[in-house]
Symmetry: C2
Subunit: 112 residues, 2 copies
């Protein structure tokens, strides 16, 4: 089981901002998972990887593919208090789910 979190590289998020948005997506997708997937993932050390996403369009397409694969996912938009315009899509978390299924969605992306 793993979770992949895709963060945009094209909007100039600072390190702390990016980390907070990654954590936000991670927790929201976790909440969208069923209890069996939650338990399996956390008991296995909640494996997660952070990947580079090219832009909003790509994140939305990946979210569609996650839905088609019946994986939990969460697309995060920033409230815009700092750094970014309100409503900016920042991150997408896919999973927790079986590694091979998560890889069907995000396997082509590079590590952040």
């Amino acid at each position: 089981m793993k979770q992949a979190i895709v963060a945009r590289t094209d909007i100039g998020m600072g390190t702390g901002k990016l980390a907070a948005q990654v954590a936000h997506a991670s927790l929201k997708a976790y909440e969208n998972a069923d209890s069996d997937a939650q338990r399996k993932w956390t008991s296995g050390g909640q494996k997660k990887i952070v990947l580079k996403g090219a832009g909003q369009k790509q994140l939305r397409e990946l979210a569609d593919r996650a839905r088609q694969e019946r994986l939990p996912y969460a697309l995060v938009t920033d409230a815009g208090h700092t750094q970014l315009e309100p409503g900016t899509v920042t991150t997408l978390a896919v999973g927790p789910g079986p590694e091979n299924i998560v890889d069907k969605v995000t396997g082509d992306l590079r590590l952040y």
Copy 2:
């Protein structure tokens, strides 16, 4: 309600690595919170900030203070598959908890 996540600046974590460790701490501390704190925090948009920590000693001291304030917290050590030595303390999440109580623990730290 908010959660503060402290990440070490002294161990040369890359951006993606740091983001994954922040997310790891965030979710573990969330799991350590009672259901009332979980609900209040998530319904309020799960406010979180990422702060700079100077080293392992500081993170352990902050964890002690969080425990004294009866806040949920989680100290994360890396499994060491990449970049870091196994067992390296990387991040500490404090909260979710009332903002003024979280600030008693982490209020002196700078934003990452």
